[in-house]
Symmetry: C2
Subunit: 668 residues, 2 copies
Amino acid sequence: MTFDPSLRSRPIVIENTRPSVDCGRWPVKRELGDHLTVEADVFKEGHGVLRVLLRLRDNPHEGWSERPMRLVNTGLDRWQATVPLGSLGRWQYTVAAWEDPFASWAKDAAKKLDAGQDVALEAVEARRLFDAALLRMEAEGAEADLILARSLVTRLTQAKTDAGKVEVFLSPEAAGLMERWPDRSGQVVHEPPLEVVVEPLNARYAAWYEIFPRSQGSDPGRSGTFDDCIARLPEIAAMGFDVLYLVPIHPIGETFRKGPNNSFPAEEGAPGSPYAIGSRHGGHKAVHPELGTIEDFRRLVAEAEKHGLALALDIAIQCSRDHPWIDEHPEWFEFRPDGSIRYAENPPKKYQDIVNVTFYGEHREALWNELLSMFVYWCEQGVRIFRVDNPHTKPVPFWEWVIREVKERYPDAVFLAEAFTRPPMLKMLAKVGFSQSYTYFTWRNLKWELTDYLTDLVMTDTAEYLRPNLFTNTPDILPEYLQRGGRPAFMIRAVLAATLSSVYGIYSGYELCENAALPGREEYLDSEKYEIRVRDWDQPGNIKDLITALNRIRRDNAALHELRNLRFHEADDENVLFYSKVSFDGSNMVFVAVNLDPFETHEAVLEFPLDRMGLPEDGSFAVEDLLAGSRRLWRGAHHGVRLDPAVNPAAILRVTPWKPVFFRDPYY
Amino acid sequence: MTFDPSLRSRPIVIENTRPSVDCGRWPVKRELGDHLTVEADVFKEGHGVLRVLLRLRDNPHEGWSERPMRLVNTGLDRWQATVPLGSLGRWQYTVAAWEDPFASWAKDAAKKLDAGQDVALEAVEARRLFDAALLRMEAEGAEADLILARSLVTRLTQAKTDAGKVEVFLSPEAAGLMERWPDRSGQVVHEPPLEVVVEPLNARYAAWYEIFPRSQGSDPGRSGTFDDCIARLPEIAAMGFDVLYLVPIHPIGETFRKGPNNSFPAEEGAPGSPYAIGSRHGGHKAVHPELGTIEDFRRLVAEAEKHGLALALDIAIQCSRDHPWIDEHPEWFEFRPDGSIRYAENPPKKYQDIVNVTFYGEHREALWNELLSMFVYWCEQGVRIFRVDNPHTKPVPFWEWVIREVKERYPDAVFLAEAFTRPPMLKMLAKVGFSQSYTYFTWRNLKWELTDYLTDLVMTDTAEYLRPNLFTNTPDILPEYLQRGGRPAFMIRAVLAATLSSVYGIYSGYELCENAALPGREEYLDSEKYEIRVRDWDQPGNIKDLITALNRIRRDNAALHELRNLRFHEADDENVLFYSKVSFDGSNMVFVAVNLDPFETHEAVLEFPLDRMGLPEDGSFAVEDLLAGSRRLWRGAHHGVRLDPAVNPAAILRVTPWKPVFFRDPYY
């Protein structure tokens, strides 16, 4: 190795730039209207003054905008700037820095002047830097600054001593001028730039309600329709939901249909599983005829919007034996030596009703493009939210590609990954582009389980790219906790889901506390996946009032719109979980205490973090119990709660610190 | 964006590869004879069997060697392999993975066979994979495996049923053969490779002793010489040190010499500071004539080696006003408008005796090469260890370049950074190549300070690239703790330095508990930096016995040769610090309890981590107090110690778990 000035490190070091995922390999995620706070360690040998800028752009083809970063921790050379994110899409940001010889000169010259030292050489050196800046102003024809510069030259000529000259250069006018006309030839820029994907607010903040459209009618012998869904909209909207998520609406295959409780073969006339996609009526761009027409669907989208509900579609990339692709594109499937099509298997289990496309075949470009066009088609029908079924059984690069392609066309598209698989794949799918992910929340019930799990999810770098959508249940998962804990369990888990994350969901029937399971399994008995269910949505024992209250409380409290603001606090009973969220601007503080035991009443002493609340040790705060409607004024850190799972399993407390007023304060 | 198959993520994902520094941007550090354990998350969609290999090479110009990685955590897709590092230099390592269709086939086929399902197609599919492997064997002319393959073909022909054929393919012979001849065309390799710099063992494990050579004589009116240093070697070696570190030995400038206690101007005949480098006798490649000749120096190197001492030189890149470079290479210096050379300043302070080269000048290539040749020159004189003075006042890229250049020629060279500056720069210098760093250890005295600081240093990724050399004192730093705490403080800090890190040092005089300071300062009174000091090395009150014992204990206990094995444990008194080190192979366990209060005796109950020691709750272990020489047999986790700072401020306990012998064990 011979002398090589192009080493990887630079005279000015820019390290540890945050936020970032895997050192910038993947973008971080934010939402429209959010603020991005960027930090970096910036330093250089010696004592020169550094200038540090945050550069950002909302489009890789445009020029950078710049704003100064501020040294927020001198001892750690930590610089910071915060910027609002005003448009959707893929932003780039990076950090630029240079040494400012004039500011460095000024720092030393001021000290020498104070010490009464000779500053003759300082005056000459400043003039050299000043003249160089003058040339830059002239080259740009900066009239106003040239006038100011000439007035400074006049003052210099009038100064009788070296000290007088140095004082001119130390004037605010000179400093401002020199700061506006820096020599940035030695600038170092952190490369490559980092990226932030700005998604719509509902990627972070929304309450989801999942339905089987065919179960929305009133006659169990007949499939519900899109019109039946429209009829249900007022009730769903009244509960306060933001997203209405439909399981697959495509034509259901007729060959090898599954019957009730996954029985096989099904009896004649069984409705089949909506996940067996494709029939003579069409594939992934068609709707099941029993639900209605595509026009009916578009009407549902429009009506839902009127009720403040965004529609989410369930996309399952798998085919029934009757999917049109099998005839039209046999090259997208894998065939066995006897010419039969390979179907899904998990030996010794066989899933003859489902065949999978092969993502790695010779003809994959056409297949991938067809799948892209499927997403685009549904965007054209007004859909922007996609819940993707089993994404972990398809190639990671496919998702990276297709999500990016869709979002280039529809930057407000949101993708939820049903990644019920091992943690590395779950996280990887979020890194490559999914906006949200299902999580293991359903299986975390105890205090230490919830604390550990949510800490990892939202208080680490994971939250820079993964937004946990906390579903209480799904058509595939009726957790043991709900099976055993009955109505109180449903209340408890609803409170947790709605307040631990900013985005959560329930699968319909939850509000009715449905908990009949297949024996020894997590599966629903008489699952809607295989049959049409008709319910009395107002049956006794339902918890619609609680759900409605939770969604109202979410809406009214900005703290609950945020994800990464979750903090856990001390409660002296192992059944009581105590946590808080404080809004970005600090104006809204919500504390939640939940009794996790569905069987017994528990009492606990809660420890409020007065310090974080901006209060002294004996500070007072107003407390509004948002579920019970009561109000109190509390003083000091410790306060008791008694939580009866059957009646009030949780206390959701909006807290307002009372600032003491002292005589010296102006409003006395 | 059109269809692009070359996306950044790959079908097989290789993530979170460890060890790595900043996602592989900088190399990790290991030592000759050490083991490197590499881990990675490796996964893919679906249920196929993956093969994962660690690839490594000790030279970027050679081919990779490979060894299989093992799935150590199925739930987290975590793979691991451990390899010995048998040569010095810059190694590369990476992870390669592919899906093994035959192994995947075998997994499913075995289940189908067990379930009695038809396997006709399985037999055909296996034969296709087998035939493809056969072609690969033939292409390579793999005689032995071809013979084996043909015998399998014979067995296939003889098999009467599909199940029989499948059984042949499931035989260990077939599995072994197919594993040896895989189709690796779909292989994914983590790019770019990661790097590990393998340095000599003394980069991690050594005890340093620092001297001013001119103070090693017996007459305060005359400079000690290299021969005086040689005379001191037996005594220094007897204390058990490994490295003898000399402050700069270069000619000392005559202009603007500093006198005792940094006075200026110095009186006629003052010896000056050895950090004012360069005179008419030469610069950085010369020795101060009062110390002897270069031949004398080489003799010192050789004699030291005979005593098991490696010599470390102090390199300070700064010049006295008399340095030959100023005349020979004025272009390496910065001049002010009046033609005077710019000297070191920290306004209003002036350091007229020191001028600095300018690393950014037009002629920097010649300067950088001269500095490189200076390091090479001293390597040629037999030196391999360089302690670099104030590296944080020189450019980071210079260090990256020069250390790499030196180590390409002398891979056993070791660099210690005197980076007493802010943490980001301190860490950066380690990242770009320094083998070791001074730390803030000197200013960490309380239990929480030491616990927090050492946790950050050796139990995080920091220890992948930074080795803390814990100096108890330096010619610039006589910490307040030593000034106030007297002899017990010296004993306490020696124990901490010698056992918390695997590499530590003392500046001579420490063993005599010298603690006279300039009032209100951390500086030594009558500092050796400005005068010749002659000491009675056996004066009463010295702690040479303790130092000797500590170095012997370090040598005898492999656990203390390691750095990253430090763990802190509970002791119920806030003055008692309790920690342990266990050797890589688990055979050597050392526990240390230190009373941090130099004034009072403290008692504490120590909690031994029985679980980590491989013992049950009521397990027993033998304890050998290595300083006191006593032995005990302890049972259970809790045991008391009483530590009198004047007598026994610390207990260093070698622990041997006693495994209970049960009847079922073979040695009954």
